[in-house]
Structure formats: C-alpha cells, structure tokens
C-alpha cells in the first residue's frame, strides 16, 4: 500500500513561502477546500512534479516547470521553487525533494534537481529514477491523481476504434498488473529464439541431424528477419499513432478555440446582464435607504395622518353645511326684497320672518373653518410627501438579491478569467494544414497495418515449419540433443503458457472489474431501475436497465458516476494499492449523488484526498457522511491573487 504522508511546497504556484499539508498515516478521507484559482490543481501538480518532474495544464498538456515559480517570490528576487513529498510504502519512507531553479530572466539556465531518500538514506541519481518509476509508474498515475473534470474521458472506452480509448485501456491494464504477464510472454519469446539457435547449432554437429539443422537454421533466420520487420512496422505504426494523436489534439484545440470563444461571448453577455440587474437593484436599494430614517416613525406618522384625515372630513362637512345655509339665506333675502321666490317665482309675503341668523357671524365661522381646513390639508400633503410605506422587508429582499447577483457575477468573472487564460495559450496558426497531415497519417497507418498482416502471416508459417522440423529432429533420437531440445520445449511451453495466461487473466479481470464497478455503481446511483454495469473489451462500462436493455444515452451526471465506479473497481483489483487524489470530483453531480459518493469514498481507497470548492461539497456533507472517516479538513486561504496559504481548520485524527 502506497500512502502520501506529507507535502511541502515552497514558492510553488500560488503558494508563497513554505506551505505544508500533513496527510497522516491513517485510513480515511482528507478534504482540502479551495475556491477557484486558490491552488487545488497546483497541489496535484506539486505531487506530479515531485514524482515525475512534470506539471500538467488544462487538457493534460505539459507546462514548463519554471512557470510555476510563485510570482510574489519572483517579485522579491527568488528564482527557485521546491516540492518535498513524503511517501510510505510497506513501512518504508520515501522522501522526494525536487526543485526547479531559473536564475536568468530569459530562463536559459533552468535546472531541475531531484534528491530521493529511502528510509533516510540518500540515493544515487540512477537509483532515484528506477525507484520512483517502480513506486508509482507514470502511466498509471491517472488512477491515483485525477482531475474530476476529465472523468468524461472514460466515455471513450465505449468507442472501440478510438485512439484515446486504446491509451486509457493500456493504462487500465497497467494498473491491473497485466504488463507482468505481457512482458513475460515477450521476454520468453526472445529467449526462445536463442535456444532454438542453440538447438540447431548442436544438431549441425551430427551427421544424422545435419540436414534438418540446416533447414532449421534457414527457417530461424527467416523467422528472425520477419520478426524484426514486424517490430519495425509496429514501431512505425506507434510513431504514426503518436503523430495522429498530436494532430488530432491540435484539431481538437482548434474546435476548442471556437467553443472557448462562444463560451467567452456567452459569459460576457451574462456578465452584462447581471451588471445591469445589479445597477437597477442598487439604485432601488439606494432609494429605499434614503428614506430609511422614516421607518421607525412610520407608525406615529400614519396615526397622525389618520387623525388629520378624520379632522379634514369633519371640517369639510361643517363648511358644506355653512355654505348650504348661507346660500339659503341669500335666497330668502332676495325673496323678501322682491316679494317673489327666486326659485319657483311664487309670491312671498314681505312680512314673513325669513331671517335665520346673523350673516356676519356665519361668515366669521366659515373663515375659521376654512383656515383650519387649509392647515389640515397642508399637513396631510406634507405627510403624503414622506414615503410612509414600510420598505424594511423589501429592502432586506433587494439586499439579498443583490448579494446573490454579486456571487453569480464573481463566478462568471472567474469563469471568464479561466476561458481567457485558455484562449491566450491556445494555438491558432498551428492548426493550419493539420487536417491534411491527418489524412496522410491515417493512410500511412492503414498501409503499414496491411504490410504487418502479411508479415505476421509469414511469421506464423515459419513457426509452423519450424515446429515440423523440430518434431523430425526429435524423431531422430539423437541423444546429445536431449538437453537443448528439452530447454527449447520448456521455453516454448512457458511462452505459450504466458500467452494463454494473458488472455485468461484479462478475461478474469474484466469480470472482476465489472462486478466491483456494478456493486459500487448501485451504491452511488440514485436511480433504482438501473440494474448493473456491463463491461466491454476496452473496459468501457454500459448501464443495464432492470428490464434488460442498455441505457444508450447517459446524462453527464450518470457518466460521472460510471467513471467513479470504474476508478473504484480498478483500485480494488490493482496489485498496487495507493492514494486517491481527486480534484473537483462533484462538479456535475446533484446533492443526493454527492452525498452517496462521499459516503462511499472510504470503500474506494484507503487514503482519499478531496480537493473541492464549498459549493461543490459543503463542510456539513463531508462531516455527516464521513463521520470518523473524515481525518482532517484544510482550507486554501487567499492572501492575495498570488499568495495562498494552506490552513488546517479541523481534524486531529491523523
């Protein structure tokens, strides 16, 4: 069991000065929380740099190491960064210290130095490379240090002819230990050529077997030439395949540039829209806050307004009554004066008592009431000018919306920064002509494969002729040949046994990976109708519905769960058990799936390190789901854009 015990980084990436993480020696999960651009991926890269001297950027492209020198340290004149990684395997401690020094501004003298201590003893440079290659071969590192965003790569395994699928399949067979058998088969085939020649040489020394030996000698020579030719063609195909992958990568990047530009435009539109909304909400909130001093007075002012309104209604009634009375008085006065009613023109007795009250007194009351009415109306208008609605709850809501918008804007701006960074490092002119090159490469590969098939047939024919000649040789009964013949028979038998074992072991592994991945998948998925996973020859996994059919179209979330199930199954079946470092593992999963995956992590590997942002997985999910299996929690704390510090905020279970 390989375990990462600790990691120290000094002036590496965003980590200014010396920063450390202690992963401890116990089984369980360690969570490192860090928002975007705080340095989660840099931690994975620090481990990669220590182990392989390599740093990977987006799309798994290699980045020149010196570019990872911390910018704050560089500003202060530093030219070197160092990564120290402590590993434990079967009780032995391995301390790797790798540093990169770029003293010149033009980076012309970059040096990378590596020192390895095994059990405290320093190792020679030659031994260092060999020991590190054995500790964790780079080809299988993808299953120990992986980027959750790249889990969709495993979909390629469902495509039989895909070059990417071939590469991943080879990595899978490597982690499962198959190369031991494959190398055995190939090494024994090489030895077989030698022992066959030795047997033939021996046979040539005797008259009875001399002719057969000569025939065998010719056949062996032809076989060797054909094998050499096949090897050469295979190398050329491998080289062409590499070129094809590079060209396809280039074309893929071209398509990616278009996708990036579209994404950038979409993000910029979103940012504009969010900024407009933010402006509108800010203005609305400002207006509310400008009269916020009213809010505590609202109850009193509203009471006063109600009182004044009542008074106004009463005054209006009184004034109307006086106006009505005054009007009647005028009518009566006219009637008396003209002895005729001004309304119906009837005759009026001039002696009739038509006077009701003193007109000037009425006028006096009327004037007081009118003055008061004006005062009351003025006060009501004044109160109306004040906004007497209670905007407190509305302001709280607007403030919440504003906060939400700010968060969304922050995420969009971070995405925008990421996309721009990718655009700036993308090739543009390089893609020209790549399509034509790809066509030539594909044609050349097809031609080589056809030639290889012919040569392979020749090899089989020679093998068959050699076997017949060898039988004849044995039939001569020449006693002095018995040792060489027996040696040849044993080597031949071993080679064939290893060849059959490769096929048998591969089939058994597929069965085990399928069973383990299915078991894990059932634990992780929230869909009860999914029965199991079915494996193909590439180790690609398909979901089988309980009604027996295969689920052809899978959501990105389902794809993610299937890929995690495969990774867990590979860990369970690999000869080398190691840590599982996962960067952003839950990006495409809903809360229920996140909880299920987190709960199952301790079953996937003995040591798991999650590099997550809090929106992806909250602290309480980690604590509730993992309980005692949660060993410690770290936070990548922003000091500045070029300075992150690693802070442990919980966990003493290491």
């Amino acid at each position: 069991m390989l375990r990462v015990r600790s990691l120290d980084v000094e002036n590496f990436g965003p980590y200014y000065g010396l920063q450390s993480i202690n992963f401890g020696g116990k089984d369980g999960v360690i969570v490192v929380f860090g928002e975007n651009m705080r340095g989660k991926t840099s931690l994975l890269n620090a481990i990669r740099f220590a182990l392989f001297g390599k740093i990977l950027g987006r799309g798994e492209r290699e980045i020149e190491a010196h570019k990872l020198l911390n910018l704050q340290a560089k500003k202060e004149g530093a030219s070197k960064f160092t990564v120290s990684l402590r590993l434990e395997k079967d009780g032995t401690m391995y301390d790797i210290v790798r540093s990169c020094n770029a003293p010149d501004t033009d980076n012309s003298e970059i040096t990378i130095e590596t020192v390895l201590f095994v059990g405290g003893e320093p190792q020679s440079q030659n031994r260092t490379a060999a020991i590190l290659a054995e500790l964790l071969p780079e080809q299988i590192s993808r299953f120990f240090l992986f980027d959750g965003e790249l889990l969709q790569q495993y979909e390629e395994l469902l495509l039989d002819e895909s070059e990417a699928a071939r590469g991943i399949r080879e990595s899978i067979e490597s982690i499962l230990g198959l190369p031991v058998l494959i190398h055995g088969r190939e090494d024994l085939a090489t030895i077989l050529d030698d022992v066959r020649r030795a047997e033939t040489r021996s046979a040539k020394k005797h008259k009875a077997t001399e002719a057969l030996a000569s025939q065998l000698e010719i056949l062996n020579a032809k076989l060797l030439t054909a094998k050499e030719q096949a090897k050469q063609i295979k190398n050329e195909i491998a080289e062409l395949t590499k070129q094809r992958e590079e060209t396809e990568d280039l074309l893929g990047r071209s398509a990616k540039i278009e996708a990036l530009l579209a994404r950038r435009n979409s993000i910029e539109e979103d940012i504009d829209s969010l900024e407009t909304q933010q402006e509108e909400l800010s203005q609305s909130l400002s207006k509310m806050l400008a009269v916020s001093w009213h809010w505590p007075l609202i109850e009193g002012l509203n009471g006063r307004k109600r009182k004044l309104t009542n008074e106004y209604v009463e005054l209006r009634g009184q004034i109307k009554a006086i106006e009505r009375e005054s009007h009647l008085k005028d009518l009566r006065s006219t009637a008396k004066k003209e002895s005729k009613c001004p309304v119906c023109f009837g005759v009026v007795n001039p002696d009739a008592d038509l006077e009701f009250s003193n007109r000037s007194a009425i006028r006096g009351d009327f004037s007081v009431l009118q003055t008061r009415e004006e005062q009351v109306l003025g006060q009501i208008n004044l109160l109306n000018q004040l906004t007497l609605d209670d905007h407190g709850p509305a302001a709280v809501e607007v403030s919440r919306q504003l906060h939400q918008l700010k968060m969304e804007l922050q995420v969009k701006r971070t995405d925008h920064g990421d996309v721009m960074a990718q655009l700036l490092t993308s090739p543009t002119k390089e893609v020209e002509g790549a399509r034509q090159t790809l066509g030539h490469i594909i044609a050349a590969v097809q031609k080589h494969k056809a030639t290889l098939a012919v040569v392979q047939k020749e090899i089989n024919d020679f093998e068959s002729s050699i076997a017949t000649a060898q039988q004849k040789l044995r039939a001569t009964g020449e006693p002095s040949l018995s040792l060489e013949t027996r040696r040849r028979e044993i080597v031949e038998g071993l080679r064939d046994a290893f060849a059959r074992a490769v096929d048998r072991y591969r089939d058994e592994l597929r069965g085990k990976v399928e069973a383990d991945a299915s078991e894990l998948f059932k634990k992780l998925t929230t869909e009860p109708d999914y029965e199991r996973l079915v494996i193909n020859k590439n180790y690609g996994l398909q979901i089988q519905h309980k009604d027996g059919f295969m689920v052809e179209v899978r959501s990105s979330g389902a794809e993610h769960i299937v890929a995690l199930s495969l990774v867990g199954a590979l860990q369970a079946n690999a000869p080398l058990r190691g840590p599982l470092f996962i960067d952003s593992p839950f990006g495409r999963l809903d809360e229920n799936h996140v909880e299920r995956v987190v709960r199952s992590l301790p079953d996937m590997a003995k040591q798991v390190v999650l590099l997550v942002y809090k929106k992806e997985m909250s602290e309480h999910v980690a604590r509730d789901m993992l309980k005692s299996k949660l060993l410690s929690e770290y936070e990548l704390k922003r000091i500045s854009a070029i300075h992150t510090e690693i802070e442990r905020f919980s966990g003493d279970g290491l």
């Binding site: 060999a130 290659a133 054995e134 071969p137 499962l176 230990g177 190369p179 031991v180 058998l181 190398h183 055995g184 190939e186 090494d187 024994l188 090489t190 030895i191 040792l483 027996r486 040696r487 028979e489 044993i490 080597v491 038998g493 071993l494 064939d496 046994a497 290893f498 059959r500 074992a501 048998r504 072991y505 058994e508 079946n573 690999a574 000869p575 080398l576």
Partner: protein, 66 residues
C-alpha cells in the same frame, strides 16, 4: 505477493501443466518475480539472464534425475 499476482500464479501453474515440470510453481513464481521487479526497465537483457538461470535450474534438476 499481492492478490492479483497470486491469481496470475494460479493461472500460470494450470497453463504449464502439460510441460511436466518437477516444480512448476517455483519456476513460474521466479519468472513472475523477475518480471515484476523489472516491469519498468527498458533494457530487458538482465531479465532475460534471470529467466535463463531459472530455466537452467529446472534443467539441472531434470537431467540430474534422469
């Protein structure tokens, strides 16, 4: 030996049955260990030497017996 390596050993022992070796387990185990130790080595010659020595040991026993 890890579980997967024991599984490989089991398969190989079954596969070499027809060779009528005196101690197939010892030979196959030796080859597997040599291959595991040099899994990442580009130069295969040291591995070939180890395998030849293992096969010679088997032959010595067989010839001695005969």
């Amino acid at each position: 030996m890890s579980n997967p390596e024991q599984e490989m050993l089991k398969i190989l022992i079954e596969e070499v049955n027809g060779l009528e070796l005196t101690n197939p387990e010892l030979l196959v185990k030796g080859i597997l260990e040599a291959e595991r130790d040099t899994a990442n080595a580009e130069d295969r010659r040291p591995t070939h030497r180890r395998l030849r020595d293992l096969i010679d040991e088997v032959l010595k026993v067989e010839m001695g017996d005969s």
